[in-house]
């Protein structure tokens, strides 16, 4: 028994057609979101144009320049700022003298490729498993629930590190990383989709659809899937930066992409021995990684609030504990 409410005020949930416009209108008023989007756009363009820019600079990723590093001082680049010059715009790598600008750009390619690829795998598996658990019977839900619990509980980085140990060295590393991160990181998505499906399933309009004589598939397609799109997209926006960090972490630990393929994490790993002598070599990849992750995070947050500010709190009722834990699970330390 609720108090009478016969208001003309709009209720939560926006028609699909107006959603994109509404999101855009809300995003437009947030400078931080716009700046983040611009930064990411620039980064993607730079990564795509890496070969072109390398040609422009006249360098490539893997040529050693022994003449540019001071072998007497253990390989520190000559000159200030890590040996930045007209030939090498951002200087060279200490020890080897490889061009840093080109290596950083190629690093961006790896970073984005692995993160986006892994996110796609995570979302695909997560949506399928979540839908199966939410729509299937008790038994299916129970089994999938246990599997998800285990995956959510275990630290992804530990498993990922362990998994990389057993795969042959000649397996393409970026693909391996996409698969490993993808197959280990879908649990959050599947929990989200399951919870949303269960919430939606209990709503009266789904009952009405059954009464109209619709079969389960028609009901899922017409009534459930359209409402699932928004939260899944939002979740994907949060997964991408997490995956960037995981890739960088694995490379940092020396189990990510194999040299000579450049990656930010790997550079930071080598930089551990150089930070006293050549700070630029730490700061450049660290700064890029930081800015990328931050921009994705800010944009993801903005998209989430723009899509439906009330959605999160509305759906959290009752499963507060669960959702809290899920939303905070994915960290690599």
């Amino acid at each position: 028994m609720t108090a009478p409410t016969d208001t003309t005020a709009p209720v939560a949930g926006i028609p699909a057609s107006g959603a994109a416009r509404q999101v855009w209108r809300r995003l437009r008023t947030r400078p931080s979101a716009l700046v983040s989007a611009a930064v990411l756009l620039l980064l993607v363009l730079l990564a795509l144009a890496a070969p072109l820019l390398a040609a422009l600079e006249g360098q490539d990723a893997n040529t050693y320049h022994d003449d540019l590093v001071d072998s007497a001082r253990g390989g520190v680049p000559y000159g200030a700022f890590g040996g930045a010059s007209a030939d090498h715009w951002l200087g060279v790598e200490p020890g080897t003298g490889r061009d840093l600008f080109v290596r950083l750009l190629h690093g961006a390619r790896i970073s984005l490729l692995v993160a986006v690829g892994a996110t796609a795998v995570q979302i695909l598996i997560g949506v399928l498993v979540g839908l199966a658990a939410g729509l299937g019977g008790r038994w299916i839900d129970g089994v999938l629930g246990r599997v998800t619990d285990v995956l959510v509980a275990l630290p992804m980085l530990v498993l990922a590190v362990a998994l990389t140990a057993v795969v042959p060295r000649d397996f393409p590393r970026p693909l391996l990383l996409i698969l490993v991160i993808g197959f280990l990181g879908w649990a959050g998505t599947s929990r989200l989709v399951r919870a949303q499906t269960l919430t939606l399933k209990s709503l009266d309009f789904v009952a009405a659809s059954r009464l109209a004589g619709s079969g389960p598939w028609r009901t899922a397609r017409r009534e459930l899937l359209p409402s699932l799109a928004a939260p899944v997209i939002t979740y994907a926006a949060i997964l991408v930066p997490t995956n960037i960090v995981v890739e960088a972490s694995l490379s940092f630990l020396g189990v990510g992409v194999t040299p000579p393929t450049p990656s930010w994490g790997q550079m930071l790993s080598t930089a551990q021995t150089w930070f006293r002598a050549d700070p630029a070599y730490v700061l450049l990849p660290a700064g890029l990684l930081f800015v990328t992750v931050l921009a994705f995070t800010v944009l993801g947050d903005a998209v989430r609030t723009a899509l439906d500010p009330r959605e999160a709190s509305r759906l959290r009722v009752g499963t507060r504990k669960e959702s809290r834990r899920d939303s905070l699970k994915e960290t690599s330390r």
Binding site: T5, D6, T7, T8, P10, G13, F205, L211, A212, G215
Partner: protein, 546 residues
């Protein structure tokens, strides 16, 4: 003597995405020490906003408040923080609507009352705690010393509302502001709380400002009534005057729309038991959960609905009436028992075989928000049964949907509109149109009007009756409101704790109830007549003793 409450030309404006909304518009009234005034109005009339303004709750929220509000000599608009805090709880205490969310879930009820008491009276923790136990005892909480250590979730709804009253009483305020204090409660519990409120006021002489949408609740509790609409006063006067002989047309319309236990019943023509029943339930039972944790929601329910007849199902929350309704249309599978539709047993038919028969058994839902998919246009929602039935011709579908929209009293051109563009009553009409699209022979209406204002309520029930007469529909009308059920039904079933305790024609059940529970329910319904209210209060006490 200056009045306790003096409101002069009060306006409150909320800024909502650019356009300011004027919730209260130039309202003035006074309330004397020890008197009781009810603000009555439908949703959106601004009545709760006025209650908040008395305690200065709009300060610091961005709302624009104009005019002056004086409570107990304190100018609420300009009072300093210290004075404001003295006012809140010390001079005027508020009782909120939802007793579950109005208390902090993490602390013991007694500690929360003690905390509030110490803010105003100071003193030791121990003394405050003792005072909390005392007031809890006063509001009728048995074993108050022990129960004061319980947390709110360990209390029932009625006990929580008592605890809130105890908190309000703790500091001996001169004014109680009660904002829909019984709306979230069952009718029998509501009666207990209203009786308690009555008794406490008689004892302490506290003034009361009651905010309510329920004219009956006002009639039971106050001396004076102020009818509000769209932020303005419509009519004000002594309760028997306003409710007995309203001067304004709006008040008359409002009162006419309120279903009464002494109002007219449906034409006494014998609609029932004409030939075979449309739908027949025999000994239906529904269990949720398994093994030791199984809960029986419905047990041994038997009933029959004939074409053209309305069967009312009435009961308090948790009585199993919604579960029963959903079993009747097979949204829930009965655990045992039989369900016969048009002579065929459908209680255990597998979903696949049931699907093509589903159309004839439809449902209208309670929550007008959740019953329509917010992402689909209302036209598409209504067209669903047509498409499922295999209709492919778009023009024919459109024509039929327009016809249906028109039939339920909506603009046929609003096919493309989305649910959020409609009001609650209109959404309910869309829900009815969707049910009609399937060309049903029976519709189960689950609390179809309980989320609506009384005037809208009356329109929707009238529409249902009209459609029934026209199409010969069998209706099952599920509601908690006894007066509404009486108004729309031919026969009534009363449910309690999963069982049907009494079943019969309206005249039988309402005129000469046999089950004691039915009698208790009927005695709890607030009456619109203040004189009869006092009479009924005594009746209730007799029943409680018996």
């Amino acid at each position: 003597m200056t009045p306790l409450v003096e409101v002069t030309d009060l306006t409150v404006e909320f800024a909502r995405s650019g356009d300011p909304v004027r919730a209260v518009d130039g309202l003035s009234f006074t309330l004397d020490e020890g008197r009781a005034l009810a603000l009555v109005g439908e949703s959106g009339s601004g009545k709760s906003t006025v209650a908040g303004a008395l305690l200065g709750l709009h300060r610091g929220t961005g709302a624009k408040v104009g005019g002056t509000v004086r409570v107990g000599g304190i100018d609420v608009g300009t009072a300093g923080p210290g004075e404001l805090r003295r006012l809140r709880g010390g001079v005027a205490a508020m009782v909120f609507q939802d007793p579950l969310s109005a208390l902090d879930p993490y602390y013991a009820v007694g500690d929360q009352i003690a905390e509030v008491y110490r803010v105003h009276a100071g003193g030791s923790r121990r003394a405050a705690r003792a005072r909390a136990v005392e007031v809890l005892g006063r509001v009728g909480i048995a074993d108050a010393a022990r129960r004061s250590r319980s947390r709110p979730h360990e209390f029932s709804g009625g006990m929580r509302q008592r605890a809130l009253l105890a908190m309000a009483l703790a500091c001996e305020p001169r004014l109680l502001v009660a904002d829909e204090p019984t709306t979230a409660l069952d009718v029998t519990v509501q009666a207990q709380i209203l009786d308690l409120l009555h008794e406490l006021r008689r004892e302490t002489g506290t003034a009361l400002l009651l905010v309510t949408h329920d004219v009956g609740v006002a009639a039971e509790s106050v001396d004076e009534v102020l009818v509000m609409r769209a932020g303005r006063q419509i009519e004000r006067g002594p309760v028997d005057g306003v409710l007995g002989a309203p001067a304004e047309s709006y008040t008359r319309r409002l009162l006419a729309a309120v279903p009464r236990l002494d109002g007219p019943v449906r034409a006494p023509e014998d609609r029932s038991r004409k030939g075979e029943p449309l739908l027949e339930a025999l000994d239906l039972r529904k269990e949720f959960g398994r093994g030791g944790k199984a809960v029986t929601a419905v047990e041994g329910a038997s009933l029959a609905v004939h074409a053209g007849e309305t069967l009312g199902v009435v009961g308090e929350s948790g009585s199993g009436k919604t579960t029963l309704g959903r079993m009747l249309v097979r949204l829930l599978d009965p655990t045992s028992g039989r369900l016969r539709y048009g002579g065929t047993e459908i209680g255990a038919l597998p979903e696949r075989e049931l699907r093509h028969r589903r159309r004839e058994l439809q449902m209208v839902f309670q929550d007008p928000v959740a019953s329509l998919n917010p992402r689909r246009s209302v036209g598409e929602s209504i067209a669903d049964p047509l498409r499922v039935a295999g209709e492919r011709d778009e023009t024919r579908i459109r024509a039929r949907v327009r016809e249906l929209l028109d039939r339920v009293g909506l603009d046929p051109d609003r096919y493309e509109a989305y649910p959020h563009e409609f009001s609650g009553g209109q959404r309910q009409r869309v829900g009815i149109a969707r049910a009609l699209a399937a060309e049903p022979r029976l519709i189960v209406c689950d609390e179809p009007v309980s989320a609506l204002d009384v005037t809208t309520q009356a329109q929707v029930t009238a529409l249902l009756a009209e459609l029934q007469a026209e199409l010969g529909l069998g209706l099952v009308f599920i509601a908690h409101d006894l007066a509404v059920v009486r108004q729309v039904s031919d026969r009534v079933a009363v449910m309690r704790a999963g069982r049907i305790v009494e079943q019969g024609t309206v005249t039988e059940v309402y005129g000469a109830p046999r089950d004691p529970y039915t009698r208790q329910l009927l005695a709890a319904v607030p009456s619109l007549d203040p004189l009869r209210a006092a009479e009924r209060r005594e009746r209730r006490q007799e029943l409680a003793v018996a």
